[in-house]
Structures are given as C-alpha cells and as structure tokens.
Symmetry: C2
Subunit: 414 residues, 2 copies
C-alpha cells in the first residue's frame, strides 16, 4: 500500500457534505479497488459545524490547505467566481490536482485554469459541473478520441425543465409553477440563474469548449430564459406535435477547416418535436444529445442535479485525479483564436414559432412566405400562430418590428 | 514525437473495414491530439482483397502479427469463439494490448482473458462489444469508481427492438416483420442469435460482470427470445399502459455483503410501462439504464450496432490502449467464487403477464389471487389476459401446468 493520499474539500454546503458522506460510505471499497489509502484531511467553510462528526477537519483559512504538501487533491464545491477562482488558481499553481462542480468558474475561466494545470502537470477535472451525476465530460472525451463531434443539444437545467413540464401537463402558468417548485426545493429562493437560462448557458459553454477545442465564453452566447412562456405557447407546441423545452445547443458550421472553425450556439426555449429523444425528458431530469460523424446520435440521461448524484461525480473525479496523478491525463482546450468564433445570434438561422395579435394570415404570408399555421382550443379571433421558414435572427427582428408579438421561439432541428 | 505505434486489425468484414476507414479519416487529428504517430501495419483476413487500397497490409497468417514486436495493439474484429479466442489469448500472452468488439468472446472468456492481461500488464478493452457506438463500458466504470451499482436494465439488441417496434406500431406479425428486417439488412440471414435473445444475453453478462465484479456466464442466465410474441400480446401491453421490449436485466440481491453477492439476471421480452425511459426506445436503437445508489438512474442511448458507430468505439479503444500502454489501466473482474452466484430463474420473482385460452376469471383469481385483468379490441370470448401479483418463476410454472397459455412474460419493475 502506498502512503495515504490526502484530500481537501472546499465548501461544506449541499454538494460538499454529500461528497464527504459518499466518500466515507465507500472508502474501503475505493481502497480495495485501487490499492491506495485515501482520507479527507480538511474541510474549508466559513461557518461553524460544532456538531458535525467532521468538526476536527474543518478549517477557515485556505492557506493551511495550499501550504500543506500532503494535500494532493482539492475539491472546490463553493461555487461562484470569486473565492472559488482564487482558491482553484492557487491550488493548481501549488501543484495540486483540482476537481470542481462549479460551472460558472469553468465556463468563465476554464481555458486559463486548464493552462495552469497543463504547466504544472496536474489534473483539473469538472465532471460534476454539467449534468450532475450523468457521466458526460468523460464520455464526450471518449467519443472525441475517435470521432468528430457535429453538434450537442441538451436539457441542462432541471429547475426549468420541471417548470415547463408542469406548465404543459397541468396547463398552469409560469408564476404559480415557480412558486410550487420553490416550495418543493426544486428551485432556489432566487431563481434568476435558472429561469434566465444562465445556468444552462454555462453548461453548454463547457461542453462546446471541450467538443470543439476552443473556449466559448457565456457572454458570447445568445441566452433567452423561460419567464415569458405561457400555457398558450405550450398548447400551440402540442398541436404542432411537440413540447417546449429550454434547449442549449452548439453546432459547428459545416465545411470549415478546424483552424477557421465557427460555432452556432444558443440557449433558448424551443419547440421540440415528439420525434426528438429530448421531448420525453420530463421533470427535473437532464439529457444531452451528442451527434458524432461516425457514432451517430448518442443520448445521456439522468438527474442533472441533487446532493448525491453530484457528489458521486465529484468523488469519481477525486479518485480519477488520485489514480492518474503521476501521469496527468488532461482534459484540454485552447483560448479561442478569433473574436467571431461564435456566430452572432442575428446571423444564426432557425425556423421560428411566432404568436401574434392583430395580424391576419394574408399579411403573415406576405411577410414570411410559406408558413405553417397552428391552432389551439378556444383561440381568440385576433390571435395567429405559425412556424416560419428558416430565417436568421436578424431578419426575423427586422420583419417583426411592426408586429405585436406575444410568443416567439426557435424550432429545434433534428 | 515518439516512434510510430503499429496496430494490427484482425478481420476485414463490416466492423474491420469501418475501423480502418474511421482510423485513416481522423489519423492526423489523433496524432495532433496525442503527440504520437500511429499506423495500421497488418490486416488479417482469410479472403483476398486485391482491389483494396490496403491490399499491401493484408496477411493470412496470425504468426506474422504475434511475432512482430512492433505491433503494440491488436484489434480483434472476427467474432465468435474459435479463432478469435486463440488469437486474443496469444496476443495478450505476447504482451500486446487487445481491443475487441466480440461479445461472445468476452461473455464466455472475459475473466480468463482479463487475468492474462493483468499478468502481462497490458490492456484488454471491449467498449464496442456492448451498445455499439454508445459509450457504456467506461461510463459504467466511472459510475463504479465512486458509487455502488444496484441494477442494470437494457435494450441491447437492435434487430429485435426493430421487430417489436414494427409489430406494435403496425400491428404486424413476427414472421412478416422479420422478413422485412432481413430485406433492410437490419437482421442477419440467420437471425437465431438475435431473436433467441442470445446476443442480448452475452451483452448483459459483460455489463453484469463489470458492474458486480464477478464473471457471469451466458449459460447461467435464463434467456427467452421474441419468436412467440404475437400482435395480440402487443395489444394487451398497450391497453395495460406500456410496450413489449426484449429486456436484459441484472440486479444484485439486497442486504448481502460483497463476498456473498448474488444476482438476479434475466433476458426476456417484458411488459415495459410507458413511464420507463426504456419504453420510448424504438427501432434499431439501444438504451441502457444503470441505477446507482448515489447517482440514481442514468440512461445511455444510441445506435447499438452498425459499421461506423461500432468502428468508432473500436478506434477509441485502440487510442486508449496506446495512450496508456505504459500504465495499463485495466478493466477487471474475477471468476465467480460460488456456483449459485446467479439465482435460478425459478427462484426469481416477477409480476407476469399471462394470456390464456379456455380459462375464466373465477378460476384465475382462485389460482393467482388479486390479478389485474386486461382487455383488447375484438378479444375472443375464450381469451383471458392479466397481470399476476409477484410470483417466482417456479411457482408460476407449477400453477400453469394445466393451463393453455398463449402468451407469457414478466413485467419490468421500475
């Protein structure tokens, strides 16, 4: 047996305490399967936990951890971009492996942190940052080893998926479903990051960076949330033959060499046809559809959040980091080489669902050409809903200038 | 750059030629991302391919390959258990890494071959043996690193899934759908291994061996095929609230320590409720549902067969083997320690769907207790269909001794 490998946990909140719990529950199994001895030496948190069985491991000063040469792996489970960024940078710079569940951090600083990890020959893993307990980062890497990824589309936020599922199935409106979700603990007291699409945006940035090799920053991605979706939109989706889902998607423009690669990325509620595997993903579940040139479509499905699913992904990363610490097996991507790596939303083409008031079929046809008109029960006389032909975001904006729009979103292409 | 790593391909059939094609298409990308140079040195096949661009690599004598110290990885894509077994054993014994897509071989000889690989400190990988291009073996390993697997249930055979989908959706009978599937190339001219459940059985043996740590042999697994399913059964499934799928499932008996572990494994058409993620997996697609203690349910979905999906999994294994050849990262399980590791079908408990002729509701209730009677359109007077309470396979057999059974299968429990 080799000497004990020491781990430090940053943050003793939901994921942090779940990680400690999962770790100690299975510690002897890990040691048996790897032939190594592991232990958690420190848990960093600003709060006091006098009654915790781990009280003796709790520290408040990160210096103790970063200066302790015994600590080989640091798990950052604080979240956000301030302390977390500082601690992760210092841990990597000190030659420690880092694992994190922090999607904001990886989406904002991934390229920089991966560069430090490369220079220091240590691992920086973040399986838990996307899809909770669903293995997606490593399987994506595995697909990538032998194949070229064409596109990724996912339902990456469980809270909004729960809300949209309830709206569709129970014909309820957004505010009441949100209140219910908060009551059940599925939505935060401040639901902004979820319902605005910001959380899903961070996650698609991470997946796209990995799949296409250059960092995608959240501020470059057009992101629309679900707050303005109504049950009327859901009824039109249903009559059209699909559902509304908050989709985060990334695809590479065809026909360009890797050095001139450009991406279409968007986070938006979309009309998703029943034929799509993503249409049946309900409640708090997540799913990620990866399309590869040789592999075809592969879908990964499961609980995208939650204490124990996320904690088990963190522990898997810790064990992977310890296992390969002498032969750093690195995830990697570069900082983007050119400013227009992500194509502006106004130039991205989609078919769109539109719901208008005070318009008529003749004027709609004149404006958009051959559209597909939709119906719903008890549709008011002055309401008209349809699917446009393929059109760019900019053109659509132009055409809609003088229209009274009550609903608008793209259609997910299969 | 290190010296060129040489690969040998055994078998130049569908998967073999796909592997060569995928490899050369992406060769420069692999070399760029790994900093290694790769090439295929030999392709072994008994046939002649005078017009192939790879004609100069073709050999007929395996000795040339096994005796060539330049060859570091051998990809076995012949299939079956005769030549493939001999070649794989000799390649591993000669200190070469081996990757294979051969489910019969891994299911029959996995424990033995993994032992040789361990002794020789080389890799033996078989990602392509289950689920074609769906990454499942490594993600399962990844789940396993931090979590305990409770159960696995999958649709592991695309041919039978295509046939059952058509029977349900088009109300067609088995023989005509099989003929259509053969015409389309979805079913082999000799469909025995698919329709008997034998192919799915090999795959669940591999997954169960990996998930639960001890080898499961196909002959220990109760395996029923789909040949006796009729469209009447499909109609009853539909009225019950589900579909019929060929399910391969493995779960560990709760409450036993790892050293006394016992498994319930079965391959059988089953009634699958619409609520299950597996119910919506149609046509030639495969899906594998893994339930972990901490992770919860995770589903992997995609094309379970086909030239390029399978080839891309083979190439990923080749690259993984080359990448880690100095620090063999081994998949592993042991030979089973006790004879009764797999629980006999007669002792496994399920709820069952039964369709009887010449019975009445009163006698059924007397025999089985509280059953759930099912109906279908144009049901003949002497037909009676129902779902039994939970009952063991042996008890069911006993109770059915004097009944005229026209349909019988277990219900998949969620």
């Amino acid at each position: 047996m080799s000497k004990t490998a020491k781990i430090a946990i940053l943050g003793f909140g939901t994921v942090g305490s779940g990680t400690v719990e999962v770790f100690y529950k299975n510690k002897s199994a890990y040691e048996k399967s790897t032939g190594q001895i592991f232990d958690i030496k420190y848990i960093l948190d600003m709060r006091d936990f006098p009654d915790s069985p781990y009280a003796d491991k709790l520290v408040k000063d990160f210096d103790i951890i970063v200066d302790d040469p015994e600590v080989t792996v640091v798990a950052e489970l604080i979240g956000g971009n301030t302390f977390a960024y500082d601690y992760v940078k210092r841990a990597l710079s000190a030659g420690k492996c880092v694992v994190t569940s922090n999607k904001e951090l990886v989406a904002a600083k991934g390229a920089e942190l991966l560069k430090i990890a490369r220079e220091k020959n240590v691992n920086f893993f973040f399986e838990a940052s996307v899809g909770g307990g669903i293995p997606i980062i490593r399987p994506l890497q595995q697909c990538l080893m032998s194949d070229q990824i064409i596109s990724i589309a996912g339902i990456l936020n469980g809270t909004t998926n729960y809300i949209l599922t309830k709206m569709l199935k129970e014909g309820a409106e957004f505010p009441e479903v949100l209140a219910k979700a908060q009551e059940l603990g599925y939505a935060e007291r401040d639901p902004e990051a979820d319902v605005s699409g910001g959380d899903a945006c961070c996650k698609i940035c991470i997946l796209a960076s990995l799949a296409f090799g250059q960092h995608v920053y959240p501020q470059d991605v057009y992101t629309a949330g679900i707050t303005s979706i109504t049950k009327e939109d859901a009824e039109y989706a249903s009559s059209w033959g699909g559902v509304i889902k908050l989709i985060a998607s990334a695809k590479k423009l065809e026909g360009l060499p890797p050095e001139a690669r450009r991406l279409e990325i968007i986070v938006s509620p979309m009309f998703v046809p029943f034929e799509s595997q993503l249409s049946g993903v309900d409640d708090v579940f997540n799913a990620i559809l990866v399309k590869g040139e040789a592999t075809g479509e592969v879908v990964f499905y499961g609980r995208g959040a939650g204490k124990f699913p996320t904690a088990s992904a963190v522990v898997a990363d810790i064990l992977n980091a310890l296992k390969s610490r002498d032969s750093a097996k690195k995830l990697s991507w570069e900082d983007s080489g050119h400013d227009d790596y992500v194509i502006n939303y106004k130039s991205q083409k989609h078919r769109f669902y539109l719901r208008l008031n005070n318009a008529n079929k003749a004027s709609v046809k004149k404006l958009f050409g051959e559209v597909n008109f939709l119906n719903r029960k008890n549709e008011p006389e002055n309401e008209i809903a349809f699917i446009t032909p393929e059109i760019s975001g900019g053109e659509l904006e132009e055409k809609c200038k003088n229209l009274k729009i009550s609903g608008k979103m793209p259609v997910l292409e299969l």
